[in-house]
Structure formats: structure tokens, C-alpha cells
Amino acid sequence: MDLKEAWKTLERERLIQPVNGTIAIPKHSKHPVTKLIQTFGLGLVFCVFFESIFVYLLFAMEQTIVKVGLGIIVVLYTILFMINYKVLQKLRRLHKSDEAVLKVLQGVHSIVSQTIKFQQKLSWGFFPMCVAGGFVLGVSIKKDAAAMIVQPKFYIALIVTMAVFTPASYFLTKWMTRISYGKYLGQIEELIQQTKGD
């Protein structure tokens, strides 16, 4: 069989038959990496939104201890914003669909792995701290916070809250990333191996 002749027939009879869809410039993407980048962008918007609220509360609250707590949260959110922004810039630089296939596959693999690592780091550090900050803030709204923090039960409650939320947020993040990207990451790894093979 002449492969090139058979290919021409195949092209004519099957491959270039139109598929459904209109030639218009779409506004949205369903590509996993584009979605990841959009999620990071949305994360930045939320960061700014919550930070604005905390800055407002910092000036509105009168109790010193609450101001200190809010100050810590504001600093944490600023760090979170900066890290998020840096990762987003990196992902944008890496995600180029017009590069060589191997480079794109390696780029996508790197984006997904970095995102997973970033989210797991967040789940260990930032989430529990924010939960603790929120806990202190919640306690201080109705009662005198300065009087509260000298009581042992306050510390017990705080430790219990952090002890529950730290592993919970870690395992929840791990489970969610495995469900969302675990299989996908495996497929990309396989494609990289197929490309490099021989």
C-alpha cells in the first residue's frame, strides 16, 4: 500500500470533513491551564477585596489586641497577594501554545505541579493562620478581647481550632488537587515520555 496515496484519500474522505463549530473568536476557554491562570487571577481579586475589608476594620476597631490581630492578617494577605501574583506571572510566561510540543508539555507539567505545590504550602501555612486570625476576631466582637486572651480556655480553643484546620485544609487541598489534576498530570507525563522515547 502506498501510504501517502492512502493518506490523501483519508484526508479527503474523513479527516478534513467539517466538525461542529463556528469560526468566531471565543471569549472563554475550557483549557485546564487557562482555567488555572484565571483561578489565580480571581484569587488576586479576592485577596484585594478581603484585604480592603481588614484594613477598614483595622482603623474602625478600638481594642489594641484586635488591631494587632488584624495587622497580622493584613500582613499575611499582602504576602499571599505577592506570592500569588508572582506565581501568576510565571504561569503566564510558561503558557504558550505556539511553542514546540515537547516544550509546551513540559511547561504545562511545570505549571500544574507548581500550582499543586503552591496550594499545599498554602494549606499548611496560610489557611490555619487566617483561621486563627478569624477566630480571634470573632471572639473579640462581642467580648473584651484583652480580658479573653488571659484565660486558658481561649488558648485551648485556639489550639484546637488550628489543630483541626491545619491537617483538614492540607488533606482537603491534596484530595481536591488529586481529583482535579492528578490524572491530567499523569497523562502529560506519559506524553512527555512518548515524545522523548526511542
Binding site: T9, L10, L15, V19, S29, D98, V101
Partner: protein, 158 residues
């Protein structure tokens, strides 16, 4: 529609066969086909400002199409594992029978080999295939040799 939009749409219109071909080689779900068609146009539009015309638009679009299809989350490709070669009228030595046999044989290759052989059969030189895939010319030649062996063996076995 602004001028770059019009120019882009015209180029896509002229080269849409490439998008159809890439999709047909990898996908067999109607929903995936529709999604991927839009996605390839989206990714091409996003990258279009970087297109400097150093390669032909068709080659550039081929590369974007392949990258998008390979990195998109698709439904499992049932056809890869269960497509029965005997279900095609491939014993018949007609151009259609032979092309169907080739199609099934190509669909049984792994996804990267499928890309390399389709580019080769489309007339791309090993160097160009290497640029698209991110491999050296020699690596492409080795891969092509092996892929052709596999294809011929598969086709002979029919």
C-alpha cells in the same frame, strides 16, 4: 470587527482543514470536537500577536492545534482501544478501503507517534517535524522508521 480580527478570521477560514484534521485524529466525541474546535481558535487568537510569519500560518496553526489537543482534558478515547479493524471494509483493495485501514492503524499508535506520522504524510520534512515536536532531525528519523515498521506490520496483518 477590527482589522486584526478580520485578518485572523480569514486565515483561520482558509486553514480550517488543519483544525478539522487534528481533531479527527485525536477525538471521537461530538462534544469534545466542538469544544476543541473553539479552543484551538481561542489559543490561536491568544498567540496570534506573537506570530511573526517566520513559518507558514498553516504550520503555526498545526502546532497550536496539536498542542491544544494534546494538553486538553478529553473524555477517554474509546476508539483507541476498542476500534475493531475488521469492522472496516479494509480487505477490499480500493482507495477507500486502504485509507480506512490506514486510519485505524494510525489511531492505534500512541498520541505522539500519531502526530509525527501525520506530519510526515502531510509532506513535512524531518527538520520541520522536529521543530514542531521539539526534537532533533535525527530523533524524528529514528521515530519515523519505527512508526512506519509498526504501521506496515499492522496493515500486513489485516
Amino acid at each position: 470587527m477590527s482589522s486584526p480580527d478580520k485578518e485572523f478570521t480569514r486565515l483561520i477560514e482558509e486553514n480550517r482543514g488543519i483544525i478539522f484534521k487534528v481533531i479527527r485524529l485525536y477525538v471521537n466525541h461530538e462534544e469534545d470536537e466542538k469544544d476543541l474546535f473553539q479552543e484551538i481558535i481561542f489559543q490561536a487568537w491568544r498567540s496570534y500577536p506573537r506570530f511573526e510569519g517566520r513559518s507558514k500560518f498553516s504550520t503555526w496553526l498545526y502546532r497550536i492545534g496539536l498542542n491544544t489537543v494534546l494538553t486538553f482534558k478529553r473524555r477517554p478515547n474509546v476508539i483507541d482501544h476498542h476500534e475493531d479493524m475488521s469492522s472496516f471494509n479494509i480487505a477490499e483493495k480500493t482507495p477507500s478501503g486502504e485509507s480506512e485501514a490506514l486510519y485505524v492503524a494510525i489511531r492505534h499508535l500512541n498520541e505522539i507517534d500519531r502526530m509525527i506520522i501525520s506530519l510526515h504524510l502531510d509532506g513535512y520534512e524531518n527538520e520541520e517535524i522536529g521543530e514542531i515536536a521539539g526534537l532533533t532531525k535525527n530523533h524524528v528519523a529514528v521515530k519515523l522508521h519505527r512508526i512506519k515498521d509498526v504501521l506496515i506490520k499492522t496493515l500486513k496483518g489485516l
